[in-house]
Amino acid sequence: MKSIVVAVGLIWMVLVLEISWPEHLPGGCLLLPVVCGTFFWFRSATGILIAGAGLLIDAILRPTTVPLSAVLLPILSVLLCSPRPVISSYAQLLRRWKLIPMALELPLFVAIAVCVDNLLRVSFHDFSFTYEWYSNRFGASFWSSLSPVLIIAVPVSGLTTLLFRTADELGLRRLNSRPSYF
C-alpha cells in the first residue's frame, strides 16, 4: 500500500511539473522514466494499472493525434518486466532470449517509450513515401523532438535503476516484485 501511495504521488508530482513548466521540461522527459520505473518496481498488474492510469491522464491533459504511449507501453511492459521463473542453471540462462544486462533494462525501455511517444508528434501533413521526405523532413523533425527528451529521460532512468538496486540490496522491495538476478 505504501509503495502504491508513493507511486501515485510521484506520478502526480511529475505531471504537475511537466504541465507547469512546459518551456523548461519537454513533454514526457520525467513522466516516462517515472512511469517505466513504476512498471519495473511493481512488476505486477498493480504497477500496470497505476502507470497506465498516469499515461491515460497525460493523454487527456496533453492530447496528441493518437495516444500511442498509453496504448503500447502497458503491453511492452508485460513483455519486458513480467516475472519469470528463477533460472537455476547456466544452460537455462544461455537459452534465455533476452540477455540484456539488468542495469540497462530500464534505460532501454525508457528510450523505447520516448521514441513511441514522439513518433506521432511529428507533423504528417506533407507525408509522402519518398526517401527525401523520410531523410529530410521526418528524420529532422523526429530527432529534433526526440533529443531534448532523451537527454533528460535516460539519465533519470539510470538513476532510477540505481535506486532500485539499492532498495533491493537494503531489502526495501517485496521479494515477489524483485527481478531474478540469476
Binding site: S20, L49, G52, L55, P74, I75, S77, H125
Partner: protein, 325 residues
C-alpha cells in the same frame, strides 16, 4: 504456477489499459473529453500554485544572471511605460469625447422630455445606464490546444473561485481594453471602438482553471455587428450572429440582404439591449455573397486564429448592480 497467474493478470490489465487508451483517443477526436480535461487540470492546480509560489526569487540569482535579467526587465518596463502613457493619453481624449457626447445626449433628452412630458421613463433610462457595469479580470494561459495548428481549446488559470462563470467573453492581452491602434483617426462625434480582440468565451469554469471556447469553435455563437470605417469615422451597420466553423474562418448569419455589407468591413460585438457596453473586435469580412433565403452569407477572418502566442488573456465580466432600496 504463481508466475503464470501473475503474468495472466498483467496481460489482462495491460490489454484493458491499452483499450482505454484507444477509447480516449476516439473520445478526444469526438470532443467529449472537455469536462474531464478541466477536472484533471483542477486536480493539478494545487501543485501548480505551489510551484509558482516557490519559484526562485530574483535576489538568489547569480550576479551575471541578475544583471541580464535587470536589463531585460528595464527594457520591458520602459516599453510598458510607453504603451501605458500612450493608452492614458488615448483614454483622456476618449473620456473627454464621451463626456461631451453624454452632455449632448442629456441635453437632447431634456428637450425631448420637455416636449413629450415623459419624465419618469427618461429617469428610468438614466438609472439603467448604471445598472450594468463591466470589468475585466486577468488570467494566465496554462496550455493551448493539443494538436499543432489546430485552434482547439485554451486553458486559463482562473476559475469559479475568482468568480468566473460560463459564457464570459475572453479577450487577448494583459493591458487595458483599448482599440487596435485606430484611436488617432477618430473625429469628434464618432463612436469609438474600445474593445480588445475576442479570443473566445468561457466554455467551462472549474475551481481554479477555466476552459476557453475559441471563436473558431463550431459551437461558438455570439451577437455581432458590422462596422465600416470611413474618412468620416466609424459607422455601425447590420447586426447578426457570428459562428465558428472549425476551419479557422467564422461565419456571420442573420444579416438581411437589404443591409449594406462589403469585403473589408469589420465585425465587432453588438450592443446588449441598447446599453453602452464595451465593443470588442472579432475580425474582418473576407467574403460576402447572397443566399437564396434573402440573407447574406458572410465569411469573417478572425483576428486571432492561433492561440499559441497567447500567454495572458482578460475575461470581460458584466455585472448587474442592483439599485439601492
Amino acid at each position: 504456477m504463481h508466475h503464470e497467474q501473475s503474468r495472466t493478470r498483467m496481460w489482462v490489465t495491460a490489454v484493458c489499459m491499452s483499450l482505454a487508451g484507444v477509447a480516449i483517443g476516439f473520445a478526444d477526436r469526438a470532443g467529449t473529453l472537455t469536462s474531464s480535461r478541466t477536472i484533471l487540470q483542477d486536480l493539478m492546480s494545487p501543485g501548480r500554485i505551489l510551484l509558482l509560489s516557490i519559484r526562485q526569487p530574483a535576489s538568489l540569482q547569480s550576479p551575471a544572471e541578475n544583471a541580464s535579467t535587470q536589463t531585460v526587465d528595464s527594457q520591458v518596463l520602459l516599453a510598458e511605460l510607453r504603451t501605458s502613457e500612450q493608452q492614458r493619453r488615448q483614454l483622456i481624449i476618449e473620456n473627454a469625447r464621451l463626456s461631451h457626447q453624454l452632455k449632448t445626449e442629456f441635453s437632447h433628452q431634456k428637450v425631448i422630455r420637455s416636449l413629450t412630458g415623459d419624465v419618469d421613463m427618461a429617469d428610468g433610462a438614466s438609472e439603467l445606464l448604471e445598472l450594468v457595469r463591466q470589468d475585466s479580470l486577468s488570467a494566465r494561459v496554462i496550455r493551448h490546444g493539443g494538436l499543432d495548428g489546430r485552434l482547439r481549446d485554451l486553458m486559463i488559470d482562473a476559475g469559479s473561485n475568482a468568480g468566473i462563470t460560463r459564457s464570459e467573453i475572453v479577450v487577448d492581452g494583459p493591458g487595458l481594453l483599448v482599440e487596435k491602434g485606430h484611436h488617432q483617426h477618430v473625429a469628434a462625434g464618432d463612436r469609438v471602438l474600445t474593445g480588445a480582440v475576442v479570443v473566445g468565451r468561457i466554455a467551462q469554469a472549474g475551481r481554479w482553471v477555466s476552459l476557453v471556447q475559441p471563436v473558431t469553435d463550431s459551437e461558438f455563437k455570439s451577437r455581432a455587428q458590422i462596422m465600416r470605417r470611413t474618412d468620416d469615422g466609424a459607422f455601425y451597420g447590420a447586426e447578426g450572429f457570428i459562428e465558428g466553423t472549425e476551419s479557422g474562418i467564422c461565419r456571420m448569419t442573420g444579416v438581411p440582404y437589404t443591409e449594406s455589407v462589403a469585403v473589408g468591413d469589420h465585425v465587432v460585438t453588438a450592443e446588449v439591449d441598447g446599453t453602452e457596453s464595451l465593443r470588442l473586435y472579432f475580425g474582418q469580412i473576407t467574403e460576402a455573397r447572397f443566399l437564396n433565403g434573402g440573407q447574406w452569407e458572410i465569411e469573417v477572418k478572425p483576428e486571432i486564429t492561433e492561440l499559441t502566442p497567447l500567454t495572458e488573456v482578460r475575461i470581460i465580466r458584466t455585472k448587474i448592480q442592483e439599485p439601492a432600496p
